[in-house]
Amino acid sequence: MAQELRPLLARNPMMIGIHTGGVWVAQRLHDLLKLQEPLGTLDISFYRDDFTRIGMNPEVKASDLPVNIDNRHVILVDDVLHTGRTIRAAMNEIFDYGRPASVTLAVLIDRNGHELPIHADIVGHTMSLNKGQHVKLTSDSATSEGALELKVQEAGE
């Protein structure tokens, strides 16, 4: 993924990770690409389209975009692209911070089950899973330093 992102460096992009798994992936890409500006982080809890069904995420974190995003080329990073609803929410939130010049979507895993016309520009790995299966990125540490592991879970697990 870092190799594919390298050509974008000429545009001086800023990187934003989506909590929680997307931040872990973004942190690694950020290090590999040696980006100078701090990584932005986004918690999309306040933008979810299922708020009236499932309520407030009890562990919401503050979004933190340390740099003004107006006219900037944004690389938006998440761990798994599934329905596309998280990305929609993330883009709504990004536009409440300003008007970026462009948004490029990079995901570690692109799986089947898209429900919206949203596609990733840069994909680490493509997976095909059954409807009840979920792929989840886990970390052995609360910080972004820990080892990351991908797990496939059955529904209800």
Partner: protein, 332 residues
């Protein structure tokens, strides 16, 4: 008045009526959520879409500037539509009862009422009579409770002091009439503050106040010793049915917070006041405007905390509770 009414059958917060009976996790969830809303208030576009399409009615039967305004800003930042009902010009002055007023506003498909009333228990009465999809927030009922003020005070304390475990907190002044003090005491003890003191003349202390888990002092100088947080209360002359203080000058001499008395507290103690302040009566201007005062940050924090409370009680459960065709009502 117990807090049971504010939880749904699964123990989730449904109304917000009192800090009494809230567990530590619920209080911390409100504070943590509020922390995230602070960053929304610092953005260019200070709105999030959580309550889009919802209608919030601020129903204030008692005057208020700070509380009503911050509730209004909070609801607007959550993208709700907000209506302020000013009772001085409403039909309550024409003899309509509280419940009639509520039923009429409810008929306009209100989702959340923020209620302030001079009678203790008013918000409870309303919560008992609205259908289950309507939520109620108590914005102050008589001398009983003012839970969002209590929560914003906890939020402010945590922002300046980091945690609650090693703190000594003093609440000073008109404890007897103060709904704010009651809400603060419940929250402080639940959060594990090891020492909460109330400081007031005997005539302004409720009987058996120690039962709430606090130590009482009538000597302010002794009570302020080694304190981390000083919370001054407004002397509520409008709620006093008889003379409870000898004279204002004497009250200020004994219980007014001056730079001199504040020196008895810890060097880095913070000074709070829920407002509106009576300068020169319970607090001296040199303290209110001084370096240890966090009175204005309290107001700012009130917005994020009220956003958090609204978001938490309004979230979820929509499908099971939305009345499909508004069936026959209990009070039809």
């Amino acid at each position: 008045m117990s807090g049971d009414l504010q939880f749904d059958s699964q123990g989730r917060l449904h109304h917000f009526l009192t800090t009494e009976g809230l567990d530590r996790d619920t209080i911390l969830q409100i504070l943590d959520t509020a922390e995230s809303f602070v960053s929304v208030g610092e953005r260019e576009i200070k709105k999030v879409p959580l309550l889009r399409g919802k209608t919030v009615v601020n129903l204030f039967f008692e005057s208020s500037t700070r509380t009503r305004t911050t509730f209004e800003i909070a609801a607007k930042r959550l993208s709700a539509d907000v209506i302020n009902v000013d009772t001085r010009v409403s039909s309550t002055t024409k003899g309509e009862t509280l419940l009639d007023t509520i039923r009429n506003l409810e008929a306009m498909h209100t989702d959340l009422f923020v209620v302030r009333h001079s009678r203790s228990g008013a918000a409870y009465l309303v919560a008992q009579h609205v259908p289950s999809h309507v939520r109620i927030i108590n914005a102050g009922d008589g001398s009983h409770a003012h839970p969002t003020q209590g929560m914003l005070d906890m939020f402010t304390i945590r922002r300046y002091k980091g945690s609650f475990e090693n703190l000594k907190v003093a609440i000073v002044g008109d404890i007897l009439h103060s709904r704010v003090a009651r809400s603060q005491i419940h929250a402080l003890t639940t959060l594990g503050v090891p020492e909460v003191r109330v400081i007031a003349p005997k005539t302004l202390l409720p009987t058996a106040v120690e039962r709430l888990g606090v130590h009482s002092y009538t000597d302010m100088r002794a009570g302020l010793d080694d304190i981390d947080v000083v919370i001054m209360l407004r002397l509520q002359r409008e709620r006093m049915e008889s003379a409870r203080i000898p004279s204002e000058q004497e009250y200020f001499n004994l219980y007014g917070l001056t730079t001199d008395k504040l020196r008895l507290a810890k060097k880095d103690a913070i000074v709070m006041h829920p407002g509106p302040m009576n300068r020169g009566l319970e607090i001296d201007s040199s303290v209110a405007d001084g370096p240890q005062s966090v009175i204005l940050p309290q107001v700012t924090n009130g917005i994020a905390v009220r956003m958090a409370v609204m978001a938490i009680i309004m979230g979820g459960k929509a499908q099971e509770e939305m009345p499909a065709k508004r069936p026959a009502r209990r009070h039809a």
